[in-house]
Symmetry: C2
Subunit: 492 residues, 2 copies
């Protein structure tokens, strides 16, 4: 192996960090809690972003861009939202540096350049956007507004982890405005479906759609819908959220429209977002002790071809064959690279591309040429196959689809096996401590009980599943009556 990876069993958390850093996805930076997204990680994010962006546009949304800074007076306008984010705000207070008279070559904040009003670096953009929408909306003819923004946001976190929780992260945030509550709720659910579609069919990660309990709701939302995924260590991860904001922001920013009846009403709102956190989920859900396993549909590189040769003559023959092959693969839309760098040996390259999770590796040696075959290796199962070169491009194309499906099915089997019902408190606790995963249990519906369970077990309600059946039962902690099971888990 070219680079040591900690195994999942010995230290899951270190395994994750090893994959992210040694796999070339991201790195720590000199700024506390902020990461550098490296080219390979960014190429992955670009693929994810491009698919999502198309989905948003196909559902009628347009992109726009709003300021990075939110003046404090706007930030505090919607009280719950402000309260929810106040403790993690980076705040700009000055607009100039000057030469430090005490220290040659150093700069200091110029005390004379203090802002009259402090600026919050956006942790989310509802405030600045609804303050803008006020100017865009007069009549029902101006509705709906279906806008999305791709942006960086900052939430000051004390304990950070690459991708999963960083002070700055990249995300998209949709912010829509509607004439009716029904239409806004419909939008909220539609975007949840878009997220679920994307995460399942592109990231190969099965999710459960649900609604958050009050405790876990987005600050300022009436309802938070979410998709929840399961990692290999049995912990849950929230992969995306879609919020029905009611008229909270319209009231905070006084955004009204005149309806067909010529009466003024407050506008209804939604917001929804996914972030670079999804990359953390991807890494944790699929990878193994040898490195990343990336789903072909979003992998920056889908196929790598490695030549195995002695001397220039063999190399020349392999080059000729590969030069025939490359355009055929590319014509099928396959992202392929021929790695004939002679600084490193095939074994080193094999380990490197395993580490990076490239779905398919093709090795071609001199004897293969004679036999008109290549060696095809799958990253997910590590299976190796000798395959005829004739129509190899179609074989590879089909194999990529098969790998995508296989990765999804594997994650789904694991996930399904880790949703367990519990009806007694002892079982509940034991399940969380041993098997992990989602524990499906009755809950009396109160914030107090949820809080108490969290204190006792570190598990939270991940969601009230949308497809959950009505079933009479008694709360796992208090024994009070309940009408539906909810999903508990320890979570990232």
């Amino acid at each position: 192996m070219s680079k040591e990876i900690t195994s999942r069993e010995s230290d899951y958390s270190q395994w994750y960090n090893d994959l992210v850093i040694k796999g070339g996805l991201a790195d720590y930076s000199a700024v506390r809690g902020c990461m550098v997204i490296k080219p390979y990680g960014f190429a992955l994010w670009e693929n994810m972003r491009d698919v999502l962006d198309k989905m948003f546009k196909d559902t009628g949304h347009q992109n726009a861009y709003f300021p990075l800074f939110v003046p404090k007076s706007l930030f505090e306008a919607e009280e719950k939202n402000a309260e929810g984010f106040a403790k993690e705000c980076a705040v700009v207070t000055h607009y100039r540096l000057k030469t430090d008279p005490q220290s040659k070559g150093k700069l200091m904040v110029d005390p004379e350049a203090k802002l009259e009003e402090e600026l919050v670096v956006r942790p989310t953009s509802e405030a600045i956007i609804w303050n803008t929408y006020k100017g865009w909306i007069q009549s029902y003819r101006d509705l709906p507004i279906l806008v999305n923004q791709w942006a960086n946001v900052v939430r000051w976190e004390m304990r950070t982890r690459l991708f999963l929780r960083t002070a700055e992260f990249l995300w998209q945030e949709g912010h829509t405005a509607h004439a009716t509550s029904e239409e806004a709720v419909e939008e909220t659910k539609k975007m949840l479906d878009v997220y679920a579609d994307f995460v399942e069919n592109w990231m190969a990660l099965p999710v459960i759609k649900g609604v958050k309990s009050e405790n876990e709701r987005f600050a300022g939302a009436v309802d938070t819908y979410c998709i929840e995924a399961l990692m290999q260590d049995g912990k849950a991860l929230q992969a995306g959220t879609s919020h029905f904001l009611g008229q909270n922001f319209a009231k905070a920013f006084d955004v009204k429209f005149s309806d067909r009846d010529n009466k003024l009403h407050y506008v209804w709102a939604t917001s929804w977002g996914v972030s670079t956190r999804l990359i953390g989920a991807l890494v944790m859900a699929h990878s193994d002790d040898d490195g990343l396993i990336l789903p072909p549909r979003i992998a920056p590189l889908q196929v790598v071809i490695v030549p195995i040769y002695k001397g220039d003559e063999q190399k020349g023959m392999i080059d000729n064959k590969v030069n025939e092959l490359l355009p055929k693969l590319k014509a099928l839309g396959i992202r392929v690279k021929y790695d004939d760098n002679d600084n490193s040996r095939p074994g080193w390259k094999f380990a490197e591309y395993e580490m990076k999770g490239v779905p398919v590796r093709i090795a071609i040696g001199a004897r293969d040429l004679e036999n008109n075959v290549v060696e095809v290796a799958r990253r997910d199962t590590k299976q190796k196959m000798s395959v005829s070169m004739d129509a190899i491009e179609f074989y590879v194309k089909t194999l990529l689809d098969e790998i995508q499906l296989h990765i999804f099915n594997k994650a789904k089997t694991y996930r399904d096996e880790h949703i367990t019902k519990a009806d007694k408190w002892d079982d509940f606790v034991y399940l969380l401590d041993s098997k992990g995963g989602f524990v499906s249990a009755h809950w009396d519906g109160t914030a107090e009980t949820e809080e108490k369970i969290k204190e006792l077990t570190k598990a939270t309600i991940r969601c009230i599943p949308l497809d959950g059946e009505k079933e009479n039962g008694t709360c796992i902690l208090t024994g009070k009556p309940s009408e539906q099971r909810v999903l508990f888990a320890r979570a990232y």
Copy 2:
């Protein structure tokens, strides 16, 4: 007209603002100096970004992402760069807000959450990136690094203008690292050529390639190459810059590599960027008193079809015809919209799409259907033509190319007519005050003279043209000897 636009002659500056705001490109925001880029403006930026991004990738670059914040100690490491940007830095000093005990429902900066080291919101990313590259570069095998970043940056400006000068703007910044000076200079020039290619062939804006004088050089650069464009009011606008940074940042951040000879050398650097400022240039260069004129290759919408009818029967027949037409246009890659919104009349729509600079408008009436023709109107020349519906899609496709070329040629003719030689000081001043544009004059090569000329005339040296001929002459101000003319202009 649906919306009043100030004419260029009466108030050029107000004309520009009217176009940006009423054309739906951008709007002022609640944050001093920051703008909201509206969906139509952002769609334009997306088209520009996508073309540039492909050009960067085709020249071997990869995208990555670096932190928004630069710790003050890193920011000040490269002294000239720090000095150049210190006066326009937004500075984060605190990481938390808290409830204001004096004022119900209000928040205040929590004095206990003061950062030990202040964070500068990046005005440009050399410092944070070179601090990162230090960890990426050990050997010549790690070079070159060819990385680009799409990001927001903040430069606190006292006087701002939508797109042209805003406190926050969007841009891309390429940052490359090389083993030799020659290779870095080659990269610097290559990216200047990429910018010139993009601005001329996609934005239809002719540019002059040149080198900046010392006064106008990027803070921390050894050489700044630039492309300069001319606006309709005779003022110049710098459309893009590419910097050869020498070893300045490598030395400031101690970035060395061991070469083939096993000796340690400092790494050579370039950086290059274009920003949303280009949208301002686009608006100013091509538009007229009726609104925007957008080059087809980057226009969000290339063709709009407007039906002209009385009653549902006529509307139905037109719909049928348009539904045949739309897929044919789209199949040729044409961005087209059928605007059959019945809330507004055709005349209003015509003015609206003129305002928005949609290159081609097609009107279809009931009589047109009988005659198998449509009315095609060009935005740039305002020409209207009656065109047979047979193969109309090919007609439109060719017309879009013709419009692209016509817009470029018009701008080029204007630009070429506004490069004037001056050999006497009085002529020089008179030209700047009357005709405007670039004045080509000899200069003694000193910063003092350039400064003096700027004081006297508000004109700066826009560049020393790369294709300028060597020619002996005498400085326009001092009469001292000079070997090449340089281009002076008043500039945005």
